[in-house]
Amino acid sequence: MSFKSIVRELKEMRDGFGSMSRRSSAAEGRVGPSRSGARLHWHQARHQRHAPCDDVQESRWASLPPELLLDVIQRIEASEVSWPARRYVVACASVCRSWRHITKEIVQTPEQCGRITFPISLKQPGPRDSPIQCFIRRERATATYRLYLGLSPALQGENDKLLLAARKVRRATSTEFVISLSSDDFSRASSTYIGKLRSNFLGTKFTVYDSQPLHDAPMVSTNRSSRRIHSKQVSPRVPAGNYNVTTIAYELNVLRTRGPRRMQCTMHSIPVSSIQEGGTAPTPTAFINSLDEHFSSLAVSKGKDPIIEFSSTTLGEPLVPVQTSGEPLVLKNKAPRWHEQLQCWCLNFRGRVTVASVKNFQLVAAVDASHQVPPAEQEKVILQFGKIGKDIFTMDYRYPLSAFQAFAICLSSFDTKPACE
């Protein structure tokens, strides 16, 4: 592109009036044939006239009408759908406040478009129609578990997008998995701290803690243009705490070690209504106390301001479970069928799980007729987890779970003790 070479040359000028050859700094993803010949003449003439920062030419773009700027940013968002290219969309949100506002307005939630864009996407429900496919890599030496976006580890040389990382910490009476955005920072005081999973002594019950409470009331509808209901910013500032969002219970199979174990997840933060006709699941739009929380309050917001009650907490102390309105959604693992010929328990993982393991599971909604959940919804596998190789596992999740909740639930499968196996 001609601009690319223009801008590159300008940058070189800023960097110290280097030669007009192509920049020697790290290779770009897109490299086109050198066109510096024709540009050279024009560029040199400009260089003589004024310093790059005062370039009159470029400031004309400042008067680009907002609807055209929106069009340009929309094009970038629409074309860069997969990682690592999706980071160009995140970059658009880094230019200035209005660009951030525009970009955040354009980007849809994972539920709406099936794509992960900003970190907050990890706390938003997945798509309804088909799951988001991820994989988990276990590193035994450091007891670290890393969640990546993608079907399975890419071929060497390509880069998979890291979503979350967890580190297992054994304590006297429990085990904890600290979950973070960063794969080398597991400090609970850090801004990258997302939540944690704690097990009981026996490894039969687990609690998932979110670092932040429910911020938004459930969205009115899944229509993109629907107004969002924001809760008033709680004052004083919400401390990073631990909010119980899920309880996971493992039970021995009646046949003890020879049969599959039973799993039940009580989603305190997701109501059963989320999978009923027309239901929605809580969808935070920003991390509390983040710069985006400030921006979202700039958007037109009307409606109720539910204040969420909580008691102040010091780090590490569990709180009263965050209760949504209505009965919480309960997930249970789909019972495998006994395959007489193969003499084993079988679940249809549709090719996403290839190694038999007691850790493998599929979670569906545990509902009965009184819940009035459409049959199609009852059938859906909301979370699927299983082994595909040494220390590699796939994780597929969908609405109403978020990536964070799904990851936390899967981590519990790594820690169950022989009592459950």
Partner: protein, 197 residues
């Protein structure tokens, strides 16, 4: 530059009546007179001129005599727009010549000319040309880092220091969080395109 075969520049002072087409001619043969902001006049086949919805509406509203003034478009830009119409109007979307023209059209455009094209296409309501130009801008800024984008658009960084730090972290940590190798070393694209300087 304008192709002489299509747009004929007319000297000031020539009686306009002489070139107004007779009403009986079909629109394919009829020519429309367009006048740039400098007063330069371009005689364009009506078929091509209708590449602009604005002009098309004016023609339909009965504006067939005299020149249609375009005070928001300069002559060099107008001649480029006419070139575009010549290669696109009446052709199918998958026409190879049109695609080749587009490639060259955008490739050789300086940022200033592209800005003019966008503004002209917006004013004239010529959506395909606007799409082409906006896509060219999107393609260009996709390859820029944040600082370059700001420089290009003349944008001031109006984040507070705290916001700036959060934005930096989002770009650096989240955007570049890619595969970690077995020994814990982080591999990330050293493209330098996204990280703020």
């Amino acid at each position: 530059m304008a192709s002489e075969a299509v747009a004929v520049k007319i000297q000031e002072g020539v009686a306009v009546d002489a070139v107004v087409p007779a009403a009986s001619e079909t629109s394919a043969q009829r020519k429309i007179l367009l006048k740039s902001v400098e007063g330069e006049e371009f005689l364009v086949d009506e078929l091509f001129a209708r590449g602009s919805k604005m002009i098309s509406n004016m023609i339909d509203d009965g504006f067939t005599e005299g020149a249609i003034p375009l005070p928001n478009v300069t002559a060099p830009v107008l001649s480029k727009v006419v070139e575009y119409w010549k290669h696109h109007v009446g052709k199918s979307e998958t026409d190879k010549d049109a695609r080749e023209f587009d490639r060259a059209f955008v490739k050789d455009a300086s940022s200033s000319v592209l800005f003019d094209i966008i503004m002209a296409a917006n004013y004239l309501d010529c959506k395909p040309l606007l799409d082409l130009a906006c896509q060219a801008v999107a393609d260009a800024i996709r390859d820029m880092n944040v600082e370059q984008v700001r420089g290009f658009f003349g944008i001031t960084n109006d984040f507070t220091p705290e916001e700036e730090a959060a934005v930096l972290e989002e770009n650096r940590e989240w955007s570049n969080a890619l595969t970690v190798t077995g020994n814990g070393q982080k591999e990330s694209n050293e493209g330098g395109n996204i990280v703020l300087p």
